[in-house]
Amino acid sequence: MNQPILKIVDLRVYYHVEAGAVKAVDGVDLDLQPGVKLGLVGESGSGKSTMALALMRMIKEPGKIEGGQMILDGTDLMTLNTEQMRHVRLSQLSMIPQGAMNSLHPLLRIEDQIIDGIRDHDRTLTKAELHERAGILLESVELTRRVGRMYPHELSGGMKQRACMAIAISMHPQLIIADEPTSALDVVIQRQVMETLDRLQVELDLSIILIGHDMGLMAQFVDRLAVMYAGRLMELGDTLALFEEPLHGYTQMLIESLPVLENKGVFTGIPGITPSLLDVPPGCVFHTRCPEATQECREIVPAFRELRPGHWVACHRHGVVEA
């Protein structure tokens, strides 16, 4: 087994507000092999967006990374200072953010924004070389070079998102975090953008973490899938295995609630509501909504363990194991 490109160990991110500590990420362990697309799926209030920010070390007050390690290609990102982290961002680890509309500078041309990032990391390139690089990048995300001279407001949603992708791959990073990159896009554009990302992943041998709430998108795109709920991981495994045989109650109920062609007219939701991250239930966080919850589930936090090769789950149904 190769060295994982990313190894997250017991990551904790809390937001300290007046009412207490919001435990957005509460002990997440995750390995990502190089060249693999990993999906991180969760609903609102699951903590998945916080994960993205934490990996980029862009958590701001009142949030704080309380503990844990994020080892990217052998280096623990928590040990880096500001300057070193800045270097890591874009050249080794980059992000395609949610809502491309807001992450592009409205007053700069697209190619200038691409060049900005490159120039920050490599001052040896000449103006002509930078221009050429920007052009190649745009073409690689299926935009014409002409787009480089345009301003963000002249582009459509899908084009803006692809411009963000061009910036994200400009320094040929090893890992890209895509945080709900298509949530604001129409379904046809969504497929186009995701297929572009897919192609890029193969061409540049990237590792990708796709964060989102759309199980359908995950099923279509990622190789491995991690399910997050109330700040913790419930299950992690190969996408096909997860869909065919979900080991965790939450995963199971989630999949069952999704509309597919075969189950027309059948509506099975998950009863109850997601707990507030300020006041997480004891034991297994999901026990308040799980139809099979036992006394152990209410008291003992289940360990996140590898039940089958490559298939991890935190659930006492497979034997009570304390975290």
Binding site: V17, V22, S276, L278
Partner: protein, 310 residues
């Protein structure tokens, strides 16, 4: 009350603004104890005195048998503590009374400005596009494009007998231009708010137009309305100071702006009468700053970023 103070701590502009205003109110109304109102008029005492304390008079306080007597002596002692002007007016008395008068004018102008502004603003905004709205908007545009102050001067000078203008009349005069900006500001808020889904829901619940304005829109715009009130008061005060500074109004009354008039009339600058110049200016700056700070502070409440739970 506690939550109010904790909020004020986070919003220093509002806190300081309110604090200044409270201070000025205390100064102008509480301060009356320290003065004899007649001293605010000409020939009350010696002229052109820099700030002095009449120690002899103050020393005699102890000798006075009655409280009233003591108070009179105190007032005598303090009469020249702010100095006097070239007509022999006690500046302490003038400024204490003048601040009160200016606040009253501001209140009148503010009330009228916000009163008209609210009604016109809400209805023209909610019924945008109708004839009523078009009339109101055109009127507002005209008033706002006019050189407001010059109009005030014109109106004030043509009022029957400007030399005997009362406080109320002056308040009414300056409110002629004070209503326009609030109307436009409120109208634009209403324009954007009426497209919001909760207004659509209200319509679907068979609520009538005026009902929606009163029950749905107004509560949401309360901070904005109060801010508009602060702005109207500010506009009214500025207008009145300007008119008085030009000598328009009853020149015998101790208006703050009128002190400015007299300063120019008696060439106080050339004669180096620094106390006469500084004192009203400081009070005016305090008053205007207080109003602006309140306006800033309210702006923060009026335009909050929507806070969602994590």
């Amino acid at each position: 009350m506690g939550s109010f103070f904790s909020y004020v701590r986070r919003n220093p502009a509002l806190g300081w603004g309110l604090g200044i205003l409270v201070f000025l109110l205390l100064f102008s109304y509480g301060g009356r104890i320290l003065i004899n109102p007649e001293d605010a008029f000409a020939l009350a005492t010696k002229t052109d005195l820099p700030p002095t304390l009449d120690r002899e008079a103050l020393a005699k306080i102890g000798e006075m048998p009655t409280l009233k007597g003591k108070l009179d002596q105190l007032r005598l002692g303090l009469r020249e503590v702010f100095g006097t002007d070239s007509q022999g007016k006690s500046l302490l008395a003038s400024i204490v009374l003048g601040t009160g008068l200016t606040l009253q004018i501001g209140a009148i102008a503010g009330a009228i400005g916000i009163g008209i502004g609210t009604v016109l603003g809400f209805f023209s905004g909610y019924y945008a596009g109708t004839v009523f709205d078009n009339i109101v908007t055109s009127l507002v545009d005209v008033v706002l494009t006019m050189p407001g102050f010059l109009v005030l001067v014109l109106i004030a000078s043509s009022v029957a007998d400007p030399d005997n203008m009362t406080v109320v009349t002056m308040g009414l005069v300056v409110s002629v231009t004070a209503w326009a900006f609030p109307t436009r500001a409120i109208r634009s808020q209403v324009l954007s708010m009426r497209q919001r889904p909760f207004v659509m829901m209200a319509k679907l619940s068979a609520m009538s137009g005026p009902e929606i304005i009163l029950k749905e829109l107004m509560p949401n715009l309360l901070p904005y309305l109060v801010m508009s009130l602060a702005n109207s008061v500010y506009g009214g005060v500025m207008g009145s100071l300007g008119l008085q500074g030009l000598g328009i109004g009853d020149r015998r009354q101790p208006y703050l702006g009128m002190i400015i008039w007299w300063i120019q009339y008696y060439s106080a600058f050339l004669r180096g009468m620094w106390w006469w110049i500084l004192e009203p200016v400081i009070i005016i700056i305090l008053l205007l700053t207080g109003l602006i700070l309140i306006s800033f502070g309210l702006d923060e409440i009026a335009n909050p970023r929507t806070r969602r739970s994590v």
